[in-house]
Each structure stands twice: as structure tokens, then as C-alpha cells.
Subunit: 401 residues, 2 copies
Amino acid sequence: MLFGTNLDRAQRFNRRVVLETIRVNGPLSRADVARLTGLSAQTVTNIIDQFKPAGLLIEKPRRTGGRGQPPIDLVINPSAAFSVGISFDHQRLVVVLLDLGGEIRAEVQLPVSQATPGVILPLVEAAVNELTGRTQVSRDLIWGAGIVMPVLVSQGHPTALGPSSVPDWKDYPVEEKLRERLNLPVFLDNDATAAAIGELLFGAGRQYSDFIYIYLGVGVGGGIIISGRPYRGAFGMSGEIGHMISVPGGRPCPCGNHGCLERYVSLSAADAAFRAVPESFGAIDLDQLFKGFENNDPHLLQWLDDAAEHLRNAIVSVENLFDPQAVILGGPVPETVLDALIERIEPSLISVSHRHDGASSRLLKAESGLDSRVLGAASLAIFDSMTPDFSVLRKEAVEVG
Amino acid sequence: MLFGTNLDRAQRFNRRVVLETIRVNGPLSRADVARLTGLSAQTVTNIIDQFKPAGLLIEKPRRTGGRGQPPIDLVINPSAAFSVGISFDHQRLVVVLLDLGGEIRAEVQLPVSQATPGVILPLVEAAVNELTGRTQVSRDLIWGAGIVMPVLVSQGHPTALGPSSVPDWKDYPVEEKLRERLNLPVFLDNDATAAAIGELLFGAGRQYSDFIYIYLGVGVGGGIIISGRPYRGAFGMSGEIGHMISVPGGRPCPCGNHGCLERYVSLSAADAAFRAVPESFGAIDLDQLFKGFENNDPHLLQWLDDAAEHLRNAIVSVENLFDPQAVILGGPVPETVLDALIERIEPSLISVSHRHDGASSRLLKAESGLDSRVLGAASLAIFDSMTPDFSVLRKEAVEVG
DNA sequence: GATTTTAATCCATCAATTGGATTTAATCAG
DNA sequence: CTGATTAAATCCAATTGATGGATTAAAATC
């Protein structure tokens, strides 16, 4: 539905524009910011004055060299705000404290026996207390907490397309329950979208506004970044790259179709190849599998060639649909696997994106590595507070009929 | 790049919000508009007063029935503005005059011998003069002219992925040349995106903000509508659904890949099947082909089954990527063909979109029929003037370095 | 040492939204 | 039939954030 805006909203928006411009392009003088954003120098000065009390910006010594009065460069103060990232699966819980600069300040890792809400949530609460205590970070500098899990998320609730590794969370009101415990704004997202946002803020996507993040995990997820914002689809379930049809009439998938990409390209597909079984749906022994990759297991090498072929086709399709600036490959898999895939795929990528810029590569490896999940989770709160999103301008409309 | 906004821009935005809200949901009273948009009643009154001189809105007689002062309903005046739509291929030029209500007020159709700029542009100029003369529509009520052609469009210039049916237009500065002749704002787009915009404004997409328009023509194009706006990709070449890979290692495609969707689903694929030849790249005898469909040619029936299968897989992939509200199938093909495809595809569509709303169908037929191209072209100017787009808020930033 | 250039800020102005009060025109209750 | 109630639309003064022009500051250039 459409919505109007007003002066108040416009300023909130401009504040974010100024902050984000400095975060991404800094160090920048007030005059630089005015030039980049189109705002008047006076307005930029006004807005920057507003950030002073919170200490969000740091003034560097005057730049020298050019003519005229030397500008005062500004950068984001990484210690001015923090956020919590939470990620878990059936084996492990990870909670981190991230600063505004994208650095993980502290981390707690715990093995879990059962990944149920009753077990996880108290552990999270304790972990957050430990992190703030250990780092002496004041609670009111924490902008929020993000939690991700390997399921789809729709309207703030986990949902599932097939069998899930964390079935107890289905339709559980995670955001609400966690907010009560932590007394912080809470953001829930699926791992792929969160990882994409993390990459957008702090990683390979920093210089891009339009890219597709392919998240290689037990399945294959996707985070779609359009105009610098995640696109979640009309119902919050976009980006299911793993369920694109790769082979007509191919291997059956729990989603109900045949030949889905993640039956060929994913850790579970790799596991099946590794153990020479037709399919792998249960819990995967990741340590064994990663060791197999290290040892150049012939089954896995064969799988790599096959998977690269399927992934290439999917990327071609995705590029032809989105015409993005880049496709970023990441997820909780060894970097060598990502490298091997990219090496096999890149030379034969032909799509509408082909001709834009023959020089620079369009298929990139994510920068966040194995931490992508939890880093993405922590990015959610920062993204929510900082992004000059369209929605910042929204005046709430009264619900009618 | 980020940009700031100001009071002036905010009002332009609000003006569009008010107008578009009335256009889509009208008749609406001022109070209704205030409720829907979140703007105050006073602001709505102010803005509506601004539209009065241009006659953009019509006040209907006071509504009766409820308590309180009866509201004055407002609707868009369809005769307050017009736009020109231009479409051509190697055989025919069509120019229409569309009103704000989406009605085609007048139309000129001309056979063309050669579809070169030198031939087409003078014909267009004459046609526009004839249309305005015939309808007595004042030139300054025409908001602009939209032109579409069956090629990709990037940065205002036609480009091509493979061989084109209108090769002379490659890299020709269409917008500029046409603007000089018509003395109107000119918008160039590819046929699929334009058709999607037409459908968004006046057709099946009117009630949706997020949908994918699949444009079945000589090839297969796509128009992606996200949050009520076309998504053109980072370089303006998104939506090439026809070059999604449908069959790994399948039929060779001029784009350089194998197994592209449009080698199986498109009029040229149908033509190949109809004439029992392996491929059809040249000019197609559409009359013959359409007659074949009418006569239930067995080759074409066979093709329909096969094409439906491929198109189904593509739609599954598209839905899993975008999670849209709907997928709309249209293009310059007989309605019976669209019906036949939908009938074959719909029962077996399984994707993330599957569960949202089991009742209503997600695969729809476009409303604009054979005119979709030129109607889409004409919609471009209206869309540009009316949509409360993010970009309305943009203050132009000075280009730096 | 005067001039030029650029950055940053001060100050008065401008313009769109807003909240509160007022007017208008209908229905409802007795 | 009359007064009370309800809701729409408008009037008016206040608010607020951006803006343009003038001013000050600090460097390089001539």
C-alpha cells in the first residue's frame, strides 16, 4: 500500500543517508558528503551535529595538501554501537558481539544436545550477558540482536519447505520470545538472507547495490540484494535458489519437485557422493566430509565437476533474470570448495551480464568465510538502524477494512 | 549512490501518492485518502487543491448513507492526460493514443517494408500528428511517448543478445532522435518490461505489487515488478527468462549457451515444431502459425505439451527465486495458446509460493491481449509521471570523480 | 603580503505538514 | 420536529527541516 511522508521522516532518512555515505565511502569531509548526497553543506553540518552526542562519528585531523581551508575528515566510530548475532544448528550455538565497524568483539560457542527453543533461548540469554560483561559494553549501545536458523522465515516465523534440521522451531514466535528475554530489538531471518546482508554491509558486497548471494550449506539458499536492500519476496520466502529446477525430471526432492539444484549442489549432495549413497537427508558428519575434501577424495572431485556444471547453469539463469552487478558465493563450506567451484564455473559463464565489463569478474567468493551465518545475524540489527530504506519515509497508515 | 531529500521532493512524492491511491482504489473521499496514506486530512486537501487547475480529479456527488457530513468522492479524470505508445517489428508499425484511464482513444496501424530508423521515425511523427488531429487532444495534455522494440534495452539504447529482427536499431539513440521529432518526453523499453508496466497500471497486475510477467513472443521475455516498480537490473537487462537454462546441454542457442528456455517455449520454437524443422531463426509466418493453432495441428499440440513442461519448470524456478504474488503470462500470441499452457501448468506448480493461498491461482493470463506491446509502450510515460517512486525523492547529486 | 580557493558555520527565510478549532451536512434519538 | 451526535472538509497559526547568502577560517598561489 502506498504511504505519504513528511518533514520529520525526510530528516530521519537524510540522517541515515549521511551516516551510510560516511560509513561506506569514509573518510569524508562535510563538503564531500554534501557533494555525494546532493544535500546542501548547511544541512550536512546540521545532521552531523546531531550525531555528535552519541559519538557516532569521529573527526580526524584536518586533511592537508589542496587549496582552501583544509577539510575535517569524518569516519564512523566503530565503538559507538554494537549488535548481537545468534546462530545455531542441531549441534552448536554461536553468539557474537559485533561492532559498527564489522569486527567481532567477542564470541561464545556452545555445544548443544537438543536444538529446541527451551534449550537454546536460556543459553542465548546467558551468552549475551557473558559477552557484555566480558567486553564491558554498555547495554544501551547495543542496537539489537539478530538470530538466524537454517529454515525459511515468513512474517517473523520460521517455516519449512521440506524436512528441517530444527523442526521444533516451526511457527515458534522467536522474535517475541527472544525480545522478552534480551530486552533488545530482535530480528529473525534465514541464514542466506542474513549472510547476504552481512556481505552487503561488511564484505564483498560493500561496493555493490545489486547482487545475488548464493549460500552453499546443507542446502542451497540465496540472498537477493536489490538497490542496496534485501528483497524478501511478497511473502518473505524469496531466494530459494536450491529449489530451482536444474534437471527436468531429475532426482526427487522433498519439496515435491524433481531435479532441484540442491539435490546436486549442496553439502548433502556432496555427502551422498562422498559416501556413495543415492541420497543424504539425515544429519551429515561435516568433519568427515571436510576431511574428504582436504584429501581430494575422488568421489568428491567427481562431485565438484558435476556440481559446478549445475551451479553454472543456475547462475546463468539467475544472471539472466536479475542482471546483477555480481554473484557472490559463500556459506559454511571450506574456502577450497568455493575456490574449486568458482574456478570451474567462471570461464563458461555466458549471460546478459557477460558483456558489461569483461575485465572484472562477476562471480566472487564471499569474504566472511565460515562465520557468514552469525556475522549475517549480527548485521541484521545494524542494517535495520542504518539503512536509508524507503520504509524510513513511511508514515504509518491506519488499517482500513 | 545514496541521495538526500527535502521538503520540495517530499511534496512531489506525496502528490503522487495521493493521485495513485485514488487511481487504484478510487472513488475515494479526501478522508479515505488520508486514512490510506497516513497523511493528515489537511495535507490531502492541500494536495488535491493543487490538482484542481489541471482537472486531474473529478468530484462526484456526495456519498450518502452513513452518519456525519457525507464525503465527496474523487476519481481520476481519464481525459486529463494522454500518452503515446509506439511499437513495431519487421512488418508493422502501431501507434496509439492512450488516456489516463487506460483506454486506447485512437490507433494507427501501418505496414512497413523496412524497419529502419529512417523509415520508422517519420512515420511515427506523422502518425502522432494524425492521432492528435483526429481526437482533438491538445498537445500539452500528452505526457510523453513510449516506444518498445523486440530487443534488450540498456541505458536508453537498444542492444541485442543474439540475432535481432530489427538489427538497424542497435545502439541507435532512439530516445534522443524521437524526442527531437515529437517534442515530447520519450521512453524506450523492451517489449516485455513495457508490457509488464502496462499490466501493472491497467491490467491483471493492478492489484499486485510483486509479480513476474512472462512475455511469450518470438522469444520469451520477462518483466519483473518489485514493490510496484519495474526491476531492470543493475544494467537494465534483467528479465531474460527466455535464456534461463531449461535443459542442461540441450538445444544450442545463439546466446552461446545450450538448452535455453526459448529454444523450447516461444513462437519460434512453435514454428519449428509446426514446420517439423530443427530450428527456426528467420522471419516467422505468424498467420500460418496461428492458423495451425486454430486447426489443432498435431505437431503444435505435441509442442504445447512439451513447452508447458519446460515453462512449468521455469516458473517453479522463478517463483522460488522471487516468491511473487503472481506470475502473469501474456504476449502477442493467441489467447487460446495462453489458456492451453496455463491449463497444463497450473495443476503441477509446486514452489515456495505454493502454500500462501491455495485458493486463488497464482498463474494468470494477461488482460491486455495482443495489444500488450503497444499498450505497455503507452503506459511508460504515464507510469513515469504518476508513480510515487523512490527516485522522486532524489536530490541530484553532483557527479564526483 | 594580497589574492584565491575551499570548508564550515551563522542567520534569516521558505515551504510543506500538522494539530486544534471551526464549519458543514448528514443521521440518530427522543 | 428538534437537539445531539458523527464525520468530512477547511481555516489558521505553529512547527520544523532545508536552503541561500553572507561570514569566517585556513590553507595554497601569485
